[in-house]
């Protein structure tokens, strides 16, 4: 099947980029930095929905810049269809930046929406959400949604990403849903405020 050979190709590309072309930092430092970021946002905004929004905005800014780095290091050409994009995100993108390869599942019949199942999440290592954060609807790793949105917008795809479940909240799995809204053709993207 051509899709599985493509998948294998992306997997080995991802592994190769991770091994050779990427500088690495200490995982605990990264986790603790992100953790104190989230805690500080909570202290500043005091509203979990607002914190989710801010994390998404930050992720959006990161994504817009990250995509350039990604394309430069991986030398990947254009994806022909959204399914390919999903494979690339999972096997090369996530692998390169977080050294994880989330599973792609739950495609809709029109192949415009899919889920990423994260077996492990380096952002949320050691984290245990207090009860009021769970009740308030905090999505701890919401920055990832913004990153996906920002990065894909720079390659002419408008997507919407949100978390469905998160192990940090006590759910069984961590699932991120990505939905393609439309392809942006010949259009200057609207600037974020």
């Amino acid at each position: 099947m051509s899709s599985s050979t493509a998948a294998k190709q992306y997997k080995s590309l991802g592994d190769d980029v991770w091994k050779n072309k990427v500088e690495k930092i200490n995982a605990e430092l990264f986790t603790l930095t992100y953790g104190s970021l989230v805690v500080q946002l909570i202290k500043d905004y005091e509203d979990y929905a607002e914190v989710n929004k801010q994390l998404d905005k930050m992720g959006y800014n990161i994504g817009q810049r990250l995509i350039e780095d990604f394309l430069a290091r991986s030398n990947i050409g254009r994806c022909t269809e959204f399914r390919e994009t999903a494979e690339v995100i999972s096997k090369v993108g996530f692998k390169m930046f977080l050294n994880i390869t989330p599973n792609i599942t739950n495609w809709t019949p029109d192949f415009k929406e899919f889920s990423l199942l994260l077996e492990e999440n380096p952002l949320a290592e050691f984290v245990e959400l207090p009860d009021d954060a769970v009740e308030g609807g905090l999505w701890y790793s919401n920055i990832l949604c913004g990153v996906l949105r920002g990065a894909l917008e720079m390659v002419q795809m408008q997507v919407e990403a949100h978390f469905i479940t998160d192990t940090v909240r006590g759910d069984e799995t961590t699932e991120l849903r990505v939905k393609l809204i439309r392809f942006l053709e010949e259009e200057v993207p609207v600037g974020e405020d």
Binding site: E28, T31, L32, G35, V39, F126, V127, E128, L129, P130
Partner: protein
Amino acid sequence: MSIDINCIAVIGKQNNPLYIKNYSSSHPDLKYHYIAHTAIDVIEERVLNNPKLTDAYLGLLYAMEDLAVYGFMTNTRVKIILVIAVTDNVIKDADIKAIFTKVHSAYVSHVCNPFHNLDQDFVASKRFSNAVDHIGQQNSRATIDV
């Protein structure tokens, strides 16, 4: 090796109790609170008398009736107290050290949680409780699996 752990206690740097769990059925909880307090005094005494003490593992602090109390103190002055029932078997230092290392790692994982308030008195994390319970029960009572 079947060490009967009766109690595991974690004490903070201001000698405030962070976590005390009783695994035996033979003594009431309050008794272990007293034991933990006495243990803290013994630790302080030892540390005052031996300023050159570099090892985190403090060994046997004291023994009373049928209980032996062991201590462990980190450089951040967090103390772990282990109370075990005295048995006829010779208790190896290495085993006790291993238990302390496990409790210490559970504590470290807990502290890394960004939502944990360091000034808070009691450790109320479920994950930490489960981890310590696992250590406590693994070593206590029935070790029939040969």
